[in-house]
């Protein structure tokens, strides 16, 4: 936060941008490119992390098609669809927050981020309701499985995939909400301007990735 303390409020109503790292002096375009490129590289590792879980999904689905069919019918389609709507809409508000932040409209960005965080919270609450239902029914992974309505072999394997995939995703939602909170606070302090908005952009990219993963999880778990 040392850099922030040396920044002053400009006439346009936002803090002056922090100094560019010395190795990018005279070339702010390259600095912006590097920051964005670094984030994309990180997102690539995240995509490959989730790919392992998707791979597991397809393997077990091939082995136990009947159990996956039965188990998918026991998931609440209404809750899953509501969650899809929440995440897609939060992605829109995050994109709009980025749009506002890069024009120096920090207060607009703050409120949009707040709405996004609230929708992330809503997503987690709905997920908690779904998990509670699964725990009550005994629709659980491995030896904890005691759900009588799934008669085909392989039922516990569906719930291994279900809990690991949605659990890891929910963890990402929590991290994403924390990042959005962090940039929202900085928006409130009017830190962002047309020349400095990378934190909003990168936190936004992370949030969109959370959305991307859900775009695949929703049809695979709830629909097919």
């Amino acid at each position: 936060m040392e850099a922030t303390s040396t920044r002053v409020m400009t006439a346009e109503g936002y803090l002056s941008p922090p100094p560019t790292p010395h190795h990018y002096e005279g070339n702010p375009g390259a600095h912006k490119h590097a920051v964005r490129f670094g984030m994309w590289l990180f997102l690539a590792t995240e995509i490959l992390l989730f790919a392992g879980l998707f791979c597991g999904y397809f393997v077990f689905r091939t082995d136990f098609p009947e159990a996956f069919d039965q188990a998918a019918r026991h998931l609440s389609l209404a809750l899953g669809t509501t969650n899809t709507f929440l995440l897609l809409t939060s992605s829109l508000t995050v994109a709009l927050a980025h749009h506002n932040a890069e024009q120096g409209l920090n207060r607009n960005a703050f409120w949009l981020l707040l709405v996004s965080i609230a929708m992330g919270g809503g997503f987690l609450c709905i997920k908690a309701v779904e998990y509670a239902e699964k725990f009550r029914e005994g629709a659980l992974p491995g030896r904890f499985f005691s759900f009588a309505e799934i008669t085909a072999p392989g039922g516990p394997m569906f719930y291994v995939v279900y809990f690991f995939a949605t659990g890891l995703h929910a963890l990402h939602v929590i991290v994403g909400m924390s990042l959005l909170t962090w940039v929202a606070v900085r928006c409130w302090r009017k830190e962002f301007s047309p020349t400095h908005y990378a934190p909003v952009e990168n936190a936004g990219l992370y949030w969109h990735l959370v959305d991307l993963v859900w775009i695949f999880l929703y049809p695979l778990l709830y629909l097919v």
């Binding site: 997102l43 091939t62 069919d69 992605s91 829109l92 024009q103 695949f216």
Partner: protein, 138 residues
Amino acid sequence: MATPHATGAAPAPAHDTPHPSALRYLVVWIGLLALTLTTFGVSRLPMSGQAHLGAAIFIACVKVFLVACFFMHLWGSEGTNKLVFGVSFFFVATMLFFVLADVATRFTLSNSYIRPLPQVDQSILKQQRPTAPEAPAK
């Protein structure tokens, strides 16, 4: 400290790409909601499991394309970012393809779950396993 080739360079513009209008995000969002409804509708159609899976993955890919291009600004972004996203997507697709090609075409007994064998006529078993051990023929 500026590098020799950067000293003479003209200062880069503050914005490498022009601002897309907020309306564009709204249109993309409506498109995403429409695709969500489509994927839901398609899943209710009477089709085979494979066709359902294919349709769901195809629609999900279109949605990912929209989010990546417009919400994540990959459209009009630096080529390196597109390369990173494209390559990671390609690697995921490659991994899934070969794993699926393997498990979907295996001989049943080599799968992790052995499907129930057809019912065996019990009388054959009785003939093969007599109740009392018999002396060898010779």
